[in-house]
Amino acid sequence: MSFKLETAVYPEKLKRVAIEPVSRVEGHGKVTILLDENDQVHQVRLHIVEFRGFEKFIQGRPYWEVPVMVQRLCGICPVSHHLAASKALDMIIGAKLTPTAEKLRRLMHAGQMLQSHALHFFHLSSPDLMFGFGSDAAQRNVVGIISAFPEVAKKGVLLRKYGQEVIRHTAGKRVHGTGSVPGGVNKSLTVDERDQLLKDIYQMVAWSREAVQIIRGLFEKNLEEYNAFGRFPANSMSLVRADGAMDLYHGGLRARDAAGKVIFDHHNYEHYWEVISEDVKPWSYMKFPFMKAFGPDDGWYRVGPLARVSNCDFIPTPLADKAREEFLAFDAGRAAGATLGYHWARMIEMLHAAETIKDLLHDEDILGTDLMAKGERVQRGVGVIEAPRGTLIHHYRVNEDDQVIRANLIVSTTHNNQPMNEAIRQVAKQYLNGKKLTEGLLNHIEVAIRCFDPCLSCATHALGQMPLEVSLIDAKGGCLDRMVKNQQAASLTD
């Protein structure tokens, strides 16, 4: 199943197709497609500038600053970094969280999951899915969705807004809050805040159920295309609870191979390096994680909604679990192996997040006052959480003076690095004939990348303004073909 990225015997003979840039906010990404002498796709590389700088510049900083500082990695799912760092630092100060603190963090995290998944599905991906991958770019954006499907768009906006309100009440701000601190949280919910959230939660659960039906309907309507699009077999990894349930906040690491066979299970994430490692490639700033058991060539795996939904034994909220069962059974299980299955799994998780919020809002502990804990201080801490895009690992060492002396962050998109490359390769093989670049090729590559909801803004449509440049260059550097979408935006990113 492995796709080796460095296999050309004579790499200088390859032709190169570069798609640059495919990102706009969090890092710069581009796609290079290398063609062999017969104009067949030989290699595909997704190049991404990652955020490794954070690991360096938090060195020397006091540990209590870290959960607030590292969340600036991201403006879309900062809560994930906020919580992963907090969990690592809980370990460093020896804290066992109070029930109130843990439930408030779980509530914050569910709010994050809800808003991030809603944002991705309704704002970013629904234009591709509802208008078709090759449809008119002028319409294939969120404004087009608002015009053609105003009710769908409205629900998407309100779902996201609700998730952000949950974050605001638990973290203090909608984006980049400070609610989670080493050892617990700095505020609980007031009765008023709880009641405000309760007022709308049942509507959110209902709309999340509808969202699951939307993506199911799209699969039913485009069954063959959806099942085949960018499809490839892959290992998968996620956290699961001790009883095998999906747990987005805490658990042990479970990995399965493409056939569903368990590779490792309930592995203590505090020792994640025993089961996974990271490879480097000369052409990307982003590392390539792999399972040690299989090595860098065969040990890559996918994370995120599709991995989680298929990896767990059940989802501990009833509506989402029923949706999971239907997803896994759909078309004899083929949807659960499709790259576009990410969208379906994502909506199941959004439903799970809404149900989790509902349950927690009915738990009196979230109004409690016992917010902080501490214990025996140690120097190493690992925090792992299931972020909207997948498993997120924060690992720190703190010296006796309370300063961070080492940090290692393995973010979700990094785990999905090779799977994204694989998906793009499959799509390129299907849609590129090697002689002429087409708008359709670009669109389909974007759609493939977007399935993973990567944390680079190639996943955004930006109201149709995403700068995108593709050049087809032969081995001697001559330009065979070139396409530019939105020249003005492209020049702004130079």
């Binding site: 020397g60 006091p62 600036r72 809050g177 400070t178 601190v181 309370d402």
Partner: protein
């Protein structure tokens, strides 16, 4: 500020057109703050002798610029503070302070309790304006209870004065000249742990920015619940003796 029977015998000066009573020997800023009138400042602290270094308390007296913390009040003076010309200069001074150090408010635990940040908001600082200098200033975390983050030092010398005059320990000093001037710790190693500094010292309480911080507090108080989150620095309730310099920690 409410009129009392003996107000008629109390000398006054005019601050932005308003009569401000003062006691003989009081400086303009002392009298103004006592009367509930805010004049921006950073290095001024009512418990210490005026320093006159930050120049944020700049005012115009009879048309001439002067530091209100070092100018003794006199009857009949006409003082202008909240006029565009003066506010523009104060804004520029804050912008210069922001680029001279490493002030990263989004992840700074002093955010909301920081006088420099609060003045930035007060004066409408929307950008640093000047090129960032990004000085290299390693943190001193050697002390068990106190963290020194020199990145945020604005050279107000309040810690120097407090340690010298109140604590009588002489822990801090400024070294270097011009743009190279920086805060140092007075020990052979240069580390705070090698001094007799204590978290209960006055010098540990007076920093207007986020240099001298109690350890392991961080964000225990939520953003939004902090001193200047609740009231702007110019509000009499927030600025009253601004001196506490945002105590309550971060």
């Amino acid at each position: 500020m409410s009129a009392t029977p003996d107000t008629v015998t109390t000398p006054t000066f005019q601050l932005d057109g308003e009569e401000i009573p003062f006691q003989p020997g009081q400086t303009i800023i002392q009298a103004a703050l006592a009367a509930g009138k805010y004049i921006p400042h950073l290095c001024f602290h009512p418990e210490f002798k005026p320093h006159g270094s930050c120049k944020l308390c700049l005012v115009k007296i009879s048309g001439r610029p002067a530091a209100s913390c070092t100018t003794v009040a006199q009857a009949g003076l006409s003082v202008e503070s909240e006029i565009p010309e003066v506010q523009d200069k104060r804004r520029t001074l804050v912008q210069m302070l922001l680029v001279e150090g490493n002030h990263f408010c989004p992840s700074c635990e002093k955010s909301g309790n920081c006088m420099l940040q609060a003045l930035g908001y007060e004066l409408g600082v929307m950008s640093p304006h000047f090129p960032q200098i990004f000085p290299v200033r390693p943190v001193d975390a050697s002390h068990k209870e106190i963290l020194l983050d020199f990145n945020r030092c604005i050279l107000c010398e309040l810690c120097v004065r407090a340690s010298n005059e109140v604590d009588q320990k002489n822990v801090f000093a400024l070294a270097g000249r011009g743009i190279s001037k920086h805060l140092i710790v007075n020990s052979e190693s240069g580390r705070l742990a090698d001094t007799n500094f204590s978290a209960t010292d006055k010098a540990a309480q007076v920093c207007p920015v986020g240099v001298i911080l109690p350890k392991r507090v961080g964000f225990a108080i939520p953003i939004g619940k902090r001193k200047f989150d609740l009231k702007p620095i110019s509000d009499p309730g927030a600025s009253a003796g601004c001196a506490e310099h945002a105590e309550g920690g971060a």
